[in-house]
Subunit: 241 residues, 2 copies
Amino acid sequence: MYKETNLRSIVKGISWRFVATGTTVTIVYLFFGQLEMAIAAGLMETVLKVGLFWGHEKVWQRVRFGKKRIEPFNLWFTGLPLSGKTTIADKVYEKLRTLDIPLERIDSKDIRELIPDVGYTREERNRHMKRIGHLIQTLQKNSISTVASFVSPYRESRKAIRTMVKNNIVVYLKADIESCKKRDYKGVYEKAVCGELKNFTGISDVYEEPQHAEIVIDTDRTDPDEAAEMIFQYVKRKYVK
Amino acid sequence: MYKETNLRSIVKGISWRFVATGTTVTIVYLFFGQLEMAIAAGLMETVLKVGLFWGHEKVWQRVRFGKKRIEPFNLWFTGLPLSGKTTIADKVYEKLRTLDIPLERIDSKDIRELIPDVGYTREERNRHMKRIGHLIQTLQKNSISTVASFVSPYRESRKAIRTMVKNNIVVYLKADIESCKKRDYKGVYEKAVCGELKNFTGISDVYEEPQHAEIVIDTDRTDPDEAAEMIFQYVKRKYVK
């Protein structure tokens, strides 16, 4: 995926003028300028230049100069269940879409709904993460950036993702487990406490805090819109401009 | 992903001429044509038109007319182990790449090397296929076509793929099991016969022949280059032109 820079547009404009003006001047010279002659010349110019313009375009389509390659990135949201990953990731995704770059949103929920029996043991989670890594890799090969949100509680699987993908930006949404429980509109924490849900991160399974996150946001203190704006500005500054 | 049609290029050329000629004629008229005047007019035109050309480009960037959308497709190679899937799919992929469309190659082997413990039971294979379906779906959402090769021995999982993806083209590589055994440079059939490999398609597990394949090729009778050319022409005719 390529985006046209202003420099390219300007140079393209100048080069086109060399071709077009050369033709006009030659024709007006041959016709010994008069109003009618100028019009006649203009008409002839029209006929000739439709062809020239077309050729000029075709030549420029083959020239790479001034085309800027956009490097795909991966925004990786990690944090306890109900720490705000999906909410904030969705907001960041909407903001990034306005930049007109190829972008894909990947959420834990969507994939687990499609393939319900992924499992929640350490081994199953790690394998799941490896597959997500492969998905992101494949998208990046096609210049598509990603906004991914997964609890991803284990260091080894976050590390695996970092090894597999380019321009990885880990966003750790830090939230007190008590506030996550308060936000628990799905009732999952309750079920986990009762033992109805096994291997539930924060209750019956560990969450290993990231040590090298590019961005850390305390969602108990920062409101989702503010958080989304901060993340958006970071990505824009580093990978789009 | 959009590709520029010749019609768009021609109309763009004509519209540009209206702008450019209008300017030339107006200027030459004001200058009451003479050689020096024409040159002066040409020079002035140059200055003005660099700006106009640039504006014209910017306007056209916002206009959709004449842009052709390429519909993503999925070529799905199925058949017994060693029936020729990877070989022929690779050749078709190379041919399709010359068409300059966004394209991704997905091979069973690459994914199973990355995630070694996928498993070969009916349930595990079906789940695996669903994930591949999700991968293709995600790529198609981004206008990327796919060339996929998987034994995919069960009807239900091929059906799942067909339901999940757009423009699905099943290529069934029909080969006699005895010829597959002869081609067995990896020694997998031997291992399967000895019971070293479990759930091996064609030996210890069933291969359910596709009933609705778009293309069926007998790889005992058709050479790989010829097969690749046939498939390439089919895709080109139906989805690219």
